[in-house]
Symmetry: D2
Subunit: 337 residues, 4 copies
Amino acid sequence: MIIVMQHGASKEQVDHVFERITSIGLRYQAIYGEERVVIGVIGEEDLIRTLPIDAMPGVERSFPILHEFRLADREWHKEPSEVTVDGVVFGGTKVVVIAGPCAVENEAMLVETAERVQAAGASMLRGGAFKPRTSPYTFQGHGESALAYLAEARSATGLPVVTEVMDTADIELVASYADVLQVGARNMSNYSLLKKVGKLGMPVLLKRGMASTVRELLMSAEYILSNGNMKVILCERGIRTFEDGTRNTLDMSAVPAIKSMSHLPVIVDPSHATGRSAYIASMSKAAIAAGADGLMIEVHPNPEEAISDGAQSLTLDQFDQLMRELGPIAAAVGREI
Amino acid sequence: MIIVMQHGASKEQVDHVFERITSIGLRYQAIYGEERVVIGVIGEEDLIRTLPIDAMPGVERSFPILHEFRLADREWHKEPSEVTVDGVVFGGTKVVVIAGPCAVENEAMLVETAERVQAAGASMLRGGAFKPRTSPYTFQGHGESALAYLAEARSATGLPVVTEVMDTADIELVASYADVLQVGARNMSNYSLLKKVGKLGMPVLLKRGMASTVRELLMSAEYILSNGNMKVILCERGIRTFEDGTRNTLDMSAVPAIKSMSHLPVIVDPSHATGRSAYIASMSKAAIAAGADGLMIEVHPNPEEAISDGAQSLTLDQFDQLMRELGPIAAAVGREI
Amino acid sequence: MIIVMQHGASKEQVDHVFERITSIGLRYQAIYGEERVVIGVIGEEDLIRTLPIDAMPGVERSFPILHEFRLADREWHKEPSEVTVDGVVFGGTKVVVIAGPCAVENEAMLVETAERVQAAGASMLRGGAFKPRTSPYTFQGHGESALAYLAEARSATGLPVVTEVMDTADIELVASYADVLQVGARNMSNYSLLKKVGKLGMPVLLKRGMASTVRELLMSAEYILSNGNMKVILCERGIRTFEDGTRNTLDMSAVPAIKSMSHLPVIVDPSHATGRSAYIASMSKAAIAAGADGLMIEVHPNPEEAISDGAQSLTLDQFDQLMRELGPIAAAVGREI
Amino acid sequence: MIIVMQHGASKEQVDHVFERITSIGLRYQAIYGEERVVIGVIGEEDLIRTLPIDAMPGVERSFPILHEFRLADREWHKEPSEVTVDGVVFGGTKVVVIAGPCAVENEAMLVETAERVQAAGASMLRGGAFKPRTSPYTFQGHGESALAYLAEARSATGLPVVTEVMDTADIELVASYADVLQVGARNMSNYSLLKKVGKLGMPVLLKRGMASTVRELLMSAEYILSNGNMKVILCERGIRTFEDGTRNTLDMSAVPAIKSMSHLPVIVDPSHATGRSAYIASMSKAAIAAGADGLMIEVHPNPEEAISDGAQSLTLDQFDQLMRELGPIAAAVGREI
C-alpha cells in the first residue's frame, strides 16, 4: 500500500503513521518528495487494510498495490482453469453455449427447447425457476415445479442444467436439481449467498452485478473460492450506463480484462446485456472473437408468448441459424463450438 | 401502455397486436399517424405487462403509462406517511438523525457513542452487526454478539436501534434485537429478503441500490408494502457514476423525486454517499434543505481506529458541532431537529 | 408524439393541449384510459417539438415517436451507404484499417509508421496535429508542421490521411492537408464545428462523445448531413462508466445499434476505448465479428517514447501480428481486410 | 508519481525505468516490497508526465501524486477567490442569483423577465443567444439580435448579463455585448475555446461537462487561468448517469469538493441539472446549504410558450416565491441573498 500524506502534513503526523504501521508488524519506507511525503508499506497487504489509513490525521489518500483477490488471481495460478460440468468443459478449446428460456414455463416448452438447442449444438440448458423481477406483481417463477421440469429436460436430452438460486434458504433445493447454480447479477454482492454456495462445492455461474467493476466481480468470486469451491464460471452480462438504447451496456473488454487478471473461465450473456434479440447474433460473434469461453443465450419456442424477457429471446430457428454462423468465428480464433 | 408499431408494419401485424390485447380482456384504441401506427391499451396495466409486447412481430417498442408501484404511490395516498419507531417519527416535522459507528466493535465504544450522539440530539442509533464487505478477507461484523451490544446501548440510552440484515436466515435473529431492520444497498434487489422482511411487519429502512433508479427503489419498497408492511423508510445513499473523487455520487434530487412520487419518508446517508468525512456537514445541511426527513451519519469515537469506514466517520466532537449547525437549516425549512 | 396527461388533469387542461396542437396546424387523437388521458399528435413531429409540451399545465410527460434524425435514418435510406476516400471504401466488403500514432511527433517516425502499417495491410494513416489534452501543461500537438508531415507520409505511401480538427478557425488549414477530417469525442456536441465541417463537404470521421448515446451521435451526424455533406463515417470509441479498469467502456453493441438505425458506416477505435494495448487485439477481433466497417488503431514505432497515449499504442510488430489474425475473422463474417 | 512494476518485472526493466527518470533530470526512490517494486519519482511532476511510463516494459501502472492543476489549486492559493462582475461579487458573503430565460426570444419578454427577477432579488441576467441543441432542426438561438436584446435589458435594469459562446469565431462578438462569457457543458473540453476565452480576460462562467469529473473541470479552468485570466466562476449543472427520472444527476457534493480543492467560486444550475421545474426550489435550497456561492435559474414569463427548456423553467411568480424562501437558508449558513 502507498500512503500519500497531505501537503504540509506535520512530522508528528508522519511519525504517527509510521507507528501505526509498525504496531501491526509491518515495515515501511518513506519518500520525501518536494511537496509531499509518500509512504510505502511493506508486507502482507491484507494486514494494512485492517487499518483505516485514510482516517489518520495528515493522510491525503492511500492506494493498494496488490490485488485484493488471491485464489482468483492469475499471478498465482498462471494457467487458465477449466471447470467441468458433467463432461462439459468451460475454459477449454470448445466454446460452450448455454441456451434456454428466461423462465421455465412448462414441461412441454422446456423439453422442446432443450431438444432443439441440443440439436443446434448447445451444450447446456438454462431456465429460471426463481425469477428476480423488479415488480412484485409480475411472474416470480414456478419454483420447485420448474426445477422438476429442468430435471425432466435433462433426462430427455442429457444436457446439464443451470438455474438461479436467489435465497440462502433455497440452496439445497436448487442444488438437488441443478448441475450448475447461477448467482444472478442482482445477487453478486449478496455475500451470505456467495459463502453458502461456496461451501456447497457445486459449480457456480457467477454473473457480474450491473454496477460492479471487474475487480469486484473477482472479489465476489473470491468469496466462493475461499470457501473451498474452485468451480466458478464468470459471466459478463452488461453494466448500467446512461445509454438507453440497450437494456444494459455489454462491457466486451471485460473478457480480456478477466483473462489477464484471473485464471477463471468467462462467458458472455448477450441476451441480458442488450435486451434486444436483434443484437444477439452480432454480440455473440463478438464475444467469441474477443476470447470468451462460452455464451448464455435466451431461446424460446415463441418469444411473443414468453412470460418474461420475450424481447431478448431468439426463436429456435434463429438460434439454429446463429449456431451455424458461430462456427467459423470460433475457428478463426482457434477454437470450436 | 402505448405500443409503437414499426414503420411499415403490416395490417396483419397490427391486427395481431389488437387480438392479443383483447384476448386478455383489455381494450385498445389505435392512432394512425403519417408514419406509424400507435396503439393505446386501455385497462389494468399490470395485465398488459404480462404480454411480451416488444417481442411481437412489427412492434418497435412500448411505453408504460402508469406507475408500476401502487401502495408506494402518492397518487393514491396523497398525504405523506409517518413511520413511528418507539416514539421516533419519520416523516413528521422533526428531522430524525440516526448516528453511530459503521460496525459495532465492542460494547464500550458503542455505549460511549450512543450516549454522546444522544446528548448531541440524535434520535436513533445505528451500528452494523453483519457487514457486507467487498473482500472475504476483511472484518465481516461481530454478528449476534454485536446485536447484544446494540441492545445494551439501547438500554443505556433509550435510543431505538437500526441494524442491517443480509440473509433471510438471520431475519428473526436480527429482529429480536433491532427496532428497525436495515436492507442495505447491495440487497435492494434481493427480493427474497424483501418479501420475508415485508411479512415480518417491523419497520424497515430500505437503502437505494447503487445502480438503481428512484423508480426501482419504489418498486423494491412495493415488495415490502405488498407483503403487508407499510412501515418503510427510504434512504438515498449515493449512486455509482464515473466521478471518482467521492465514493458514490449523492443524488440529492432523489429527495424531491421521492416526495413527488411517493408518500413514504426519505432520509439521506451522506457518509456512504461521499465516503469522505470532510463533505458530511455540507451534504447533511443540503439534505435537510432539500426536504429530507432525516439523516443517517457514521460517527466513531476514534475514526482512525475504526475497523471499517473510518474515512467517512465523524468524531464525536465533529458530530456535536454538526448538530448545532443543522438546527438553523431545519428551522429555515419549517422543521426542527 | 405521445402526450401523457397527469392523473386528475382537468378538462380545461386537456382542451388547452388540444388547442395548442391545432394552433400549429397539427391533428390529435385522444385516448381516455381509466386513469389518464393520453394524446397522440399526428403530423410532422419536428413541428410539435417546437412546443414546450412538458411545461403545459396538467401534462405529465411526452414521448417522441419518430426518430429526430432523418438523413441518417435507415428507414428512409434502406441500403447501407458507402463513403469513399481516395479509393478507400468505408461500408463495403473490405474492413478498413486506419493506423498510426496518436500524435505526429516528427517526419521520420511518421513515415516509418506509415510504411510499416501499409505493408501490414492498413488502408489509411492517422496522426494528431492538434491534440485535445486534459492539461494545458502537456503537449498540444505540433499543429501545421505536423499536417505537413502527414502530407509527406501520404506522398511516400499513397495512404490517405485522417487528422483531427478542434477549432472552427482551423478547418480550412486542416482540410488543405487531410483527406478525412476527424471530429473528436470531446467535440461531438460542438455544433458550430459540425455545421462548418458539414458545409465544407470533405469526408468526416465523427467520433462518439464519451457521454453521448447512439441516438445523439446520429443527431450530431445529422448536423453534418443537413449541411449538405453525406460523407460521414461514425466511430465508437468508448463511453464513460464507473468501470475504472479501462480508460473508457467500449460499447460494442453500438455497432449493431447504428447498423439498425442508420445507413452510415461505423468503425471502432479500440485504442481509446480501452486505453490498454493488451486489450486491443481482442477488441479489434470482436469489432469485426460484430459487423464494424473498420478499425482505427494507434501504432507507434516505440510506444514507450510516445509523447502521448503510449500505453494504448501497439508496436509495429504487434500491429503486423494483429493484422494477420484479423484476416480469418473478417472471412468468417463474409468480409476481407 | 508512483510507478508500480509488474509482479516478476526483471532487474533490467526496473533499471530501464530508473534510467528514463534520471534522463529527464528527475530523481527516484525504490521500495522493494515482497511482491513488487514500487518507484517514487521525485521532482516536477509535469516533467515525468511527459514520459509514457505505462508503456514501459515491466510497468503495471502509475499514479500521480500531485494535482495536475496549479493556478486553480487551493494548496497554493489558500484563501477563496472573489470574482467581481460590475459590482456583483462571486465568492463573497452574498449568494449571487443569476436568472433569466433559457433562450432570448424577443426584447419584450427579456426586459419583462429582467425587471421581475431583479425585483425579486436576482443580481444577474442570463439568456441564450447561441443555443447548443441536439437537433439541427430545432431553434438555434437568435444570435446577434439576441445579444442586442440582452444589452437592452441590461440598460433597462442595470443587471450584468451572462450568455454562452460556442464558437471561437464568435468570441469577440459575444464579448462586445456580455459581461460574463459562458462556456457551456458541451464545450468544457473544447480547449481551443478555453484558450481563446482565457486570452480575452473577461469573466468566464465555466460549466461542468456532463461526463467530466470535478478534477477535469478544474483542469479546464486551468486552461483559462494559465492564459492569464483569473476571473473564472465554476458551475455544477448535473452529470450523466443511469437515473432517467431527471435530465441529469445534480452532483451536490461537487460543491464541497471544489471548495476543498480550489479557491474558485462555484455556483449551481438546478434547472439543467434536474430538467424539472418542480425540483428547482428544493435543489436551490440544498445548493445554498451545501455552500454554493450562487445559483443560475431558468425563469420564463410563460414557460409553456418557451422556445426551449420550458419544462425546467420557473414562472416569474414561482421565482419570486423561491427567492423569499432562500433568504432564511442563506442566513442559516451565515450568508445573505
